[in-house]
Symmetry: C2
Subunit: 273 residues, 2 copies
């Protein structure tokens, strides 16, 4: 939407056609396939929920790789494994195309308010070319992490791990306060204005205090997907991450109880019953 | 020091007499015992490292309880169990004295800069009487948590638990970034200005990035003491706190390896070797 407002011609595709309607109403051209979109665009942004979905869009006779023109750019906004970024970058390169990793921090309302934080890594010249578009798309900041294509995805995994860790800590603290007959709202009024006066704590402490876990802004299922990626990356780096393992265990338990669609901020509820 | 600057007569006592020298140089009267100090003061602030030390100051023939005059106030700044606060408040009350819980957030440099955050709970009239002194002593804010004497200590335990949780998360994220060949400094430049733009993350990410764990501003031994209190409080509230248990385990391991005097921000190093 922001790109259209900035005067760009926008072509869109979604498996679920109705999801493209709001963009279409603003003048975007709705494409019937990834292939038809790829043929018409010199820069393609993709954002999907996991590594398999992204590979599915890229590879095969209907994929981006087959249909993008030479020198076109694929800007991948999804949270995926660094290794997947490396593999896709290599495949694009073989076809004379470019691949950039640009995972993004910010919920939908941050996109509307143009307060997104984009991370970006890959070929410097292509990064410089794409940066203005990311700003027009809603990026308050574009954070560059160099030419190694894997860097931005590692940073994104670290960021989501840090957020999930904060969610667990906030949840345990609220429960301890409540069970000790302390006004947890009053306690978080203080923390939110002092030691923890940061967006993650300010926003999520409100949600957790009110237990407003539905509708989810980011589901437990997607949260677990990200923590699984964090631990896969840690394993490939031969590092133990006990806090990430704890988060994984809690999320698995909540999902096993049928709550995969509640907000991931409920992560600490696994052990607080 | 701030109290002297504000024009108050200050009497001081420390087991290690030399520690009172800086205050004495500014005009404080150094007392030879808790008892002699108690006889001369109508408001006494105590700050010691654990519950046992505080009880030791209060109870017995040389203690505050025996020597404070009627209607005097004992303001306890230490991080202790809520139950200990309840017990001491009751003992003071039996002698016609007052006890307030006022654990404090802020390192020594924050005291100098008058940027401390005091929490406070206990009798409202006495709280109002003491609040101006806490501001003069360096309190940027004084956060009131009502008449229940235990509340402020619970809030302090929650706060220290939240800080230690952040330390573990920061440490694991930095290690994952480094082992994935990402510039962890650059990553924290971003997080410190965006999602985690809060004092705890800004200050501690610098220390952990540089691995400046000595000299300690707050030792691992004291960190473990606090997490032990958090888990004691959780047990008495019949609550499980898996993240607190993880922190306890890591701190115990670091201390068992002879590193009890390094800064508690090294907590994640237990599992990162």
């Amino acid at each position: 939407m922001n790109l259209i407002d900035s005067g760009h011609s926008l072509y869109v595709y979604n498996r679920t056609a109705s999801k493209a309607s709001p963009a279409a109403a603003k003048g975007a051209v709705v494409c019937e396939s990834v292939a038809s979109l790829a043929k018409q665009c010199n820069i393609v942004f993709t954002i999907v929920s996991d590594d398999a979905a992204l590979k599915n869009i890229c590879i095969g006779e209907n994929g981006l790789l087959h249909h993008l023109q030479t020198d076109s750019v694929h800007v991948s906004l999804s949270t995926i494994l660094p290794q997947t970024a490396l593999d896709l970058a290599s495949l694009h390169e073989q076809r004379g195309q470019h691949y950039l990793a640009s995972p993004v921090f910010g919920r939908p309302e941050a996109a509307v308010a143009k307060k997104l934080n984009f991370t970006i890594s890959g070929n410097e010249k292509i990064r410089k070319q794409v940066e203005p578009l990311l700003r027009e798309a809603g990026g308050m900041h574009v954070w560059h992490f160099g030419n190694d294509i894997t860097a931005a995805n590692t940073v994104k995994l670290c960021g989501n791990f840090l957020i999930a860790s904060a969610l667990e800590a906030i949840g345990e603290s609220i429960q301890l306060a409540k069970k000790s007959r302390v006004d947890a709202q009053q306690m978080w009024d203080m923390f939110s204005q002092t030691l923890f006066a940061a967006p993650v704590y300010v926003n999520y402490s409100k949600i957790i205090l009110q237990e407003k876990f539905e509708p989810a802004a980011f589901t437990m299922k997607l949260g677990l997907k990200d923590i699984d990626l964090v631990l896969q990356q840690a394993a490939s780096a031969q590092q133990s991450m006990p806090l990430a393992s704890l988060l994984q265990k809690n999320m698995q338990q909540i999902i096993s109880e049928g709550n995969e669609d509640i907000d991931w901020s409920a992560v600490s509820s696994a052990t607080l019953k």
